[in-house]
């Protein structure tokens, strides 16, 4: 079984401050993986590096053990099949819900291809499916700006799935969701995992527990502990830096 994502000895610092410090981590294909850690532990920077937004100072980042992600920009990583969801939901406010999904839909990203693109039946069907999955089908004609915070979260997840990525990086999906929605999200992510790999960064312990998956604890830019939630949460140092608070 080959690894989906492979980080080794990655370090990255911003004017002196080491955000990521010799971080190593492996995500297996189809794995659901939670990353927890206090603020400033380097969770977001890690995602930036994976998605090519930030270049690491040193270390290797490999995709499918072949592609060197440190040489690729955001668009490139996305085209490889890495989908990313931000902590703060960012959707295209002045486009309709439907269009949001439509432009995220997996397709040739070239300029001309996009210019002359005509939507196929198949695509239309796919869009409807996704909209139903994220329960926005009735709002498909509304402007994304008019959606509630939670709905935007869902829309973004929908856009993420529309890209049909092999790896999803999900940053605090539960933020601003009701408990019910949180649980639904957890179920959704679990259902996704398997055919896709999913990395969830989360604060909400309930949520992580609901995922019940492998957990990595980040601290000061490097891995502090790894294992099941029960395992790690039993470790004193973890309690010290994280749960202790």
């Amino acid at each position: 079984m080959t690894s989906q994502l492979y980080l080794s000895g990655v370090s990255c610092s911003f004017d002196g401050f080491k955000a990521i410090n010799n971080l190593s981590m492996v995500i297996q294909k189809g794995e659901l993986h939670a990353v927890i850690g206090p603020n400033g532990a380097g969770k977001t920077t890690m995602m930036d590096i994976i998605t090519g937004k930030t270049r690491p100072d040193e270390g290797e980042v490999f995709w499918n053990e072949t592609v060197d992600l440190t040489k690729i920009d955001e668009a490139g990583s996305a085209q490889l099949g890495i989908g990313r969801k931000f902590q703060k939901p960012t959707v295209f406010e002045t486009l309709t819900v439907e269009d949001n999904i439509a432009i995220a839909l997996k397709a040739d990203r070239g300029v001309l291809a996009t210019l002359f693109d005509r939507q196929t039946k198949k695509q239309a069907k796919k869009i409807t499916e996704l909209l139903e999955l994220v329960r926005l089908n009735d709002d498909r004609a509304r402007m994304a700006a008019d959606l509630s915070h939670g709905q935007k979260q869902w829309l973004e997840i929908g856009m993420l799935l529309a890209q049909d990525p092999e790896l999803l990086l999900v940053d605090e999906p539960a933020a601003g969701m009701t408990d019910a929605e949180t649980m639904r999200t957890a179920d959704l992510l679990k259902s996704i995992a398997g055919e896709r790999s999913v990395v969830v960064v989360e604060h909400d312990m309930e949520f992580v527990r609901a995922l019940n998956c492998k957990v990595t604890v980040l601290h000061q830019g490097s891995v502090l502990a790894e294992g099941t939630l029960d395992h790690v949460s039993a470790m004193p140092e973890v309690i010290e830096v994280y749960l202790g608070r």
Binding site: D73, E74, T94, I103
Partner: protein
């Protein structure tokens, strides 16, 4: 396809434009007593050139969020390309009767035509340059700027720097493009004497057609998936990247298209007004274009065209009616519109109309 390109506002506008395209030449040439005087024909042709220019800016600003404060540069370059052809067409009819050299070269002591003037005696070559030169500039400039992710006000200011630098360059007489006087004293285009009503009417029709084409092309782009991506770029650039679109490519594409459109506008403008000079590069002119768009309604294409026409018309009338104080009126107009018509004239008009009309969906 038709429904996609022609929504209500576009339909009405194009209809009006079409009516005008027929009525004006007829009224000017065919009917007795000239209900439409030649004066008005030349004026309206000029307005339509401005309208096309405004549309080209709206395409990049209204949809891709690229505020270019240097669009006048593309307009002027197109104008110069056409002007150079018209200069060549004067031939030996210059005041010095030099068969080859334009007058300004004769009294600035040129002994031969500079290399970049070669080929401009050929109309098609000139027309090609009209789109290529602005397009190329836009490409180089955009490639640099978008690749290094210069955005927002920084982008705006360097576009201004671009047009300012070009203005200074074109003011220099060494450049061999007539310096401050620019290119003028044109005789005719493709053999049609520029000083006849029929030629003027012809130019008017051409301007109207160009505007229609410009609007439809822009409309095609903005209603395509690429159009939606551009809006995406405008709203949340990084998101578009994470979805997998190479934003710089998309920006570059519209920027170049828009520049070419501006170039065409300039090319028609030159024979209409009979002169092209470095003044067209001045940053103030480019700012005015932005004002047309904002005033008409950003991101509506039709609104941009209307904005241009309103301002130009106001300028014409005010400078005649109240020459002493017209700037008050114009300045006041800008202030009031921004304060009270946030969506521009078009937006305001439509809102008021929609109050009376049963709610009907209009796609942006």
């Amino acid at each position: 396809m038709f429904n996609r390109l022609i929504d209500r506002r576009m339909g009405i506008f194009l209809f009006g434009l079409f009516v005008l395209t027929v009525a004006v030449p007829v009224g000017n040439l065919a009917m007795s007593g000239q209900p439409v005087p030649s004066y008005a024909v030349a004026l309206m042709a000029k307005y339509l050139c401005y309208a096309l220019l405004a549309v080209s800016l709206d395409l990049v600003w209204g949809f891709a969020g690229i505020l270019s404060l240097g669009h006048g540069a593309f307009f002027a370059l197109g104008g110069y390309a056409m002007g150079m052809h018209l200069m060549r067409e004067i031939g030996p009819r210059g005041v010095y009767g030099d068969p080859l050299l334009p007058d300004f070269m004769v009294f600035l002591n040129y002994d031969a035509l500079p290399w970049f003037w070669l080929g401009f005696d050929n109309f098609l070559f000139a027309v090609l340059m009209v789109v290529l030169v602005p397009g190329l500039l836009a490409f180089v400039f955009g490639w640099l700027a978008f690749r290094s992710r210069v955005t927002g006000v920084y982008l705006s200011i360097i576009t201004q720097a671009m047009t300012y630098a070009l203005m200074l360059t074109f003011f220099r007489n060494e450049l061999g493009l007539g310096g401050n006087n620019g290119l003028t004293d044109f005789k005719d285009v493709l053999g049609f004497n520029l000083q006849t009503d029929s030629t003027r009417a012809g130019l008017f029709v051409i301007a109207a057609t160009a505007l229609t084409a410009g609007l439809l092309i822009s409309r095609f782009i903005t209603t395509s998936k690429l159009g939606k991506v551009l809006v995406g770029v405008r709203d949340a650039e990084s998101r578009t990247r994470f979805i997998g679109y190479r934003v710089e490519g998309f920006k570059l594409f519209v920027f170049v298209i828009s520049a070419m459109m501006a170039g065409v506008a300039g090319a028609i403008y030159t024979p209409v007004v009979g002169i092209i000079n470095p003044g067209e590069f001045s940053p103030a002119n480019s700012i005015e274009i932005v004002i047309w768009v904002a005033l008409g309604g950003r991101g509506t294409l039709v609104g941009a065209a209307i904005g241009a026409i309103i301002v130009a018309l106001a300028k014409t009338l005010l400078t005649g009616w109240i020459p002493e104080i017209w700037l008050f009126a114009l300045g006041g107009m800008f202030v009031l519109v921004t304060l009270f018509l946030p969506h521009g004239v078009l937006g305001a008009v439509e809102n008021t109309l929609n109050k009376f009309r049963p709610k009907k969906e209009t796609t942006v």
